[in-house]
């Protein structure tokens, strides 16, 4: 019987399927970070349980770490406690961990793929909603809460309800200047924050196939913003080529044999999906969010929307509240809105291609007066590679800050935060009220729009930056 990729991944990982109970799925890889794990490890200790498979568990410090030079102490006592707890717990339970300063440390959804530890055909979980990122490799990857983290640590399994499948087909070619980030913003806008609920999305079509692995990761990363359980991209040669030579995969003949198995992680030609969303890539443009949830998207060439456009009174109220929080007036062209802070980073966009694209725009120009712009590479490996390519110097010369790896300004948990009332152009994934700092106003953008906006001091596309 024809199966979608999701169904193949599901079927391969069923441990037990008892009558009247949820299916028990095996978890091939459990990624851990310092925020959602302390109470899980505490729970193990309280119940005298061990980690069942330390060899399937990998930890990194990312959410709380300051992005200041490594020698700078962690001043927040609670952050310090969480970072210490991660190291102590990993030591006690025998888990490989990358603490702040370690050469393999970085944002959890950046390090897995770059180390070649994230591979096709796996089930991958982490106590973080952007775990969907790893689905770019044809793996079933999703976020879990702390109790589930404890459950996976203890049993290496997770009870799961099977989701429905939705094909998100992006046909045609994206115009020049339209990036993976713009594709996923368009998808989230189309589906709405609840439109993917109950579904695992499979991203298909020419525009998706043409994306690099990093582009696919950007798209899969924001699956959760549409309410979906997970996002997937089928395996192809782009996937195999990315993984070849990485630390976590074998070499030579053994690699090629494994790659052959990976190539099977695609949906069958005659498989059917429960739902489909079709998008014409040629109609896409650079986007940004205007409001307080990731589905509130507008073309950068457009204007702040008006509640008058909406029929539903609840939706109108919600829009009014968002506009008030964001201090925006309907009808204002987005290009006339000044920015205070620009953040190039996060698990959505902080990989080497994002930095290259940003540096290309920044080169020879300077950040506008009164704008703070920071670049936070997603991991030490990304940072090192960027420095080998001279990208750091390009950014520094242009007046950007070049910082140490971590989740940084994506969420207000470490020192990188917006002050109340500040407006940001951010390459991250969430623009909820206060997400980047209390009273902060977040607009989600692609890396090239972020850099162009930093240079011009207002929302802008790269073509507006003089040659």
């Amino acid at each position: 019987m024809a199966r979608t990729l999701y169904e193949k991944l599901w079927d391969e990982h069923v441990v037990a399927s008892p009558e009247g109970e949820p299916t028990l799925l095996y978890i091939d890889l459990h990624l851990v970070h310092e925020v959602t794990s302390p109470q899980a490890f505490d729970g193990l200790r309280l119940n005298s349980r061990q980690v069942r498979r330390p060899d399937r568990t990998l930890a990194t410090a990312d959410h709380n770490v300051p992005t200041d030079p490594i020698s700078t102490p962690v001043t927040d006592p609670i952050s310090r406690r969480q970072l210490e707890a991660l190291e102590e717990n990993c030591q006690e339970f025998g888990i490989t961990v990358f603490p702040r300063g370690h050469e393999n440390q970085g944002i959890v959804h950046v390090i897995g793929p770059e180390l070649g530890v994230t591979q096709p055909g796996m089930t991958i979980v982490c106590g973080d909603s952007h775990t969907s990122t790893h689905g770019a490799f044809g793996s079933l990857a999703f976020g879990i809460g702390t109790s589930e983290v404890e459950h996976v640590l203890a049993t290496q399994t997770l009870p799961q309800q099977k989701a429905k499948t939705m094909a998100v087909t992006v046909n045609g070619q994206t115009p020049v200047g339209v990036t993976a980030k713009d594709i996923v913003l368009a998808i989230v806008a189309k589906l709405g924050t609840g439109g993917g609920a109950g579904y695992v999305l499979e991203y298909r079509g020419d525009a998706i196939k043409q994306l690099s692995m990093e582009g696919r990761m950007t798209v899969c990363n924001m699956s959760i913003e549409a309410g979906a359980r997970a996002g997937l991209v089928a395996v192809d040669e782009t996937t195999v080529d990315y993984l070849r030579g990485r630390p976590g995969v074998p070499s030579g003949e053994e690699f090629e044999q494994r790659a052959n198995r990976w190539r099977g992680y695609v949906s069958d030609d005659d498989a059917t999906f429960d739902a489909e969303l079709v998008i014409d890539a040629s109609a896409l443009v650079p986007y940004l969010t205007w409001g307080t949830n990731p589905a509130q998207v507008v073309a950068l060439s457009g204007v702040v929307p008006s509640p008058d456009e909406l029929d539903d009174p609840d939706q109108r109220d919600a829009m009014l509240r968002s506009l008030a929080y964001m201090d925006l007036t309907p009808g204002t062209p987005m290009r006339e809105i000044p920015v205070d802070v620009v953040f190039l980073g996060s698990c959505t966009n902080s990989r080497i291609e994002d930095l290259r694209a940003g540096a290309q725009i920044a080169e020879g120009h300077h950040v506008a007066p009164n704008v703070r712009a920071l670049v936070v590479p997603g991991s030490h490996r990304v940072k090192k590679q960027a420095e080998e390519e001279g990208l750091d110097q390009i950014f520094l010369d242009a007046g950007f800050e070049w910082r140490e790896p971590g989740c940084s300004m994506c969420l207000g948990m470490n020192p990188d935060q917006l002050k109340a009332g500040q407006r940001s152009a951010s390459t991250s994934n969430r623009n909820f009220e206060g997400r980047q700092g209390r009273g902060g106003r977040t607009h989600l953008v692609s890396p090239v729009v972020a850099v162009a906006s930093a240079l011009l001091g207002r929302f802008a596309t790269p073509d507006e930056v003089s040659a």
């Binding site: 949820p22 959410h63 909603s129 809460g145 459950h151 609920a197 949830n293 948990m413």
Partner: protein
């Protein structure tokens, strides 16, 4: 986990939709290493406004939160559930919920009741009219009632969630009944582990 069969309490009408988990418990609260004390962080940004519903004296001591659609969207933070329960809520009634939030709630014993929007609006009106009205959430019979007015609606719960609530069952204990199946699966699994990739210091070999 405490067993739950029938909940009885007053309601709080949170008339907002798309309440994301960053609002339920802001990020800086995620820095705690203990499981307790999160109640003070519940809706902490909104509670700064004296007009916010949780600051309304009429609703103090209420144990059932009634909210708009897509309650609990956003981040996977289970802390959102701990905050609600630590504050004193035993159930949340709304037209729809964020997927991960609903899942997290079921692990902790916070009862999630999904009712059609129109019904939630009726319930909201009833509480606003008379804040002292009791709401009864019956997990056994899957019914919500406001005895004073005779208003009654049925709801659905995933069978396993209902069993867990009624029995106070912990997830790990339930799974370990199937340990043999896990071991059998591991013997035949193709998926590579991390063995041999890193040395004791976490450096690539």
């Amino acid at each position: 986990m405490k067993a739950v069969s029938i909940l009885e309490g007053r309601g709080v009408p949170l008339e907002r939709s798309d309440v994301d988990t960053d609002q339920i418990i802001p990020s800086d609260w995620l820095k705690r290493v203990e499981r307790t004390g999160f109640g003070r962080g519940l809706f902490s940004e909104w509670r700064d406004d004296p007009g916010f519903v949780l600051n309304n004296q009429s609703y103090v001591g209420a144990s059932i939160l009634v909210a708009g659609p897509r309650f609990g969207t956003g981040s996977s933070r289970e802390h959102a559930v701990w905050a609600l329960m630590d504050y004193g809520f035993e159930a949340v009634i709304a037209p729809s919920f964020g997927d991960i939030f609903r899942n997290n709630a079921s692990k902790q014993g916070l009862v999630i009741v999904q009712l059609p929007q129109g019904d939630v609006e009726q319930l909201t009106e009833m509480i606003k009219q008379e804040p002292t009205r009791l709401i009864v959430v019956d997990v056994e019979h899957l019914r919500v009632e406001v005895p004073e007015t005779g208003w009654q609606r049925d709801f659905t719960l995933d069978a396993m969630t209902r069993e867990r609530l009624l029995n106070g069952w912990d997830d790990i204990g339930l799974t370990m009944r199937r340990e043999k199946s896990i071991t059998t699966y591991e013997l035949t699994s193709h998926a590579p582990s991390l063995t041999g990739i890193f040395d004791a210091g976490g450096h690539v070999r």
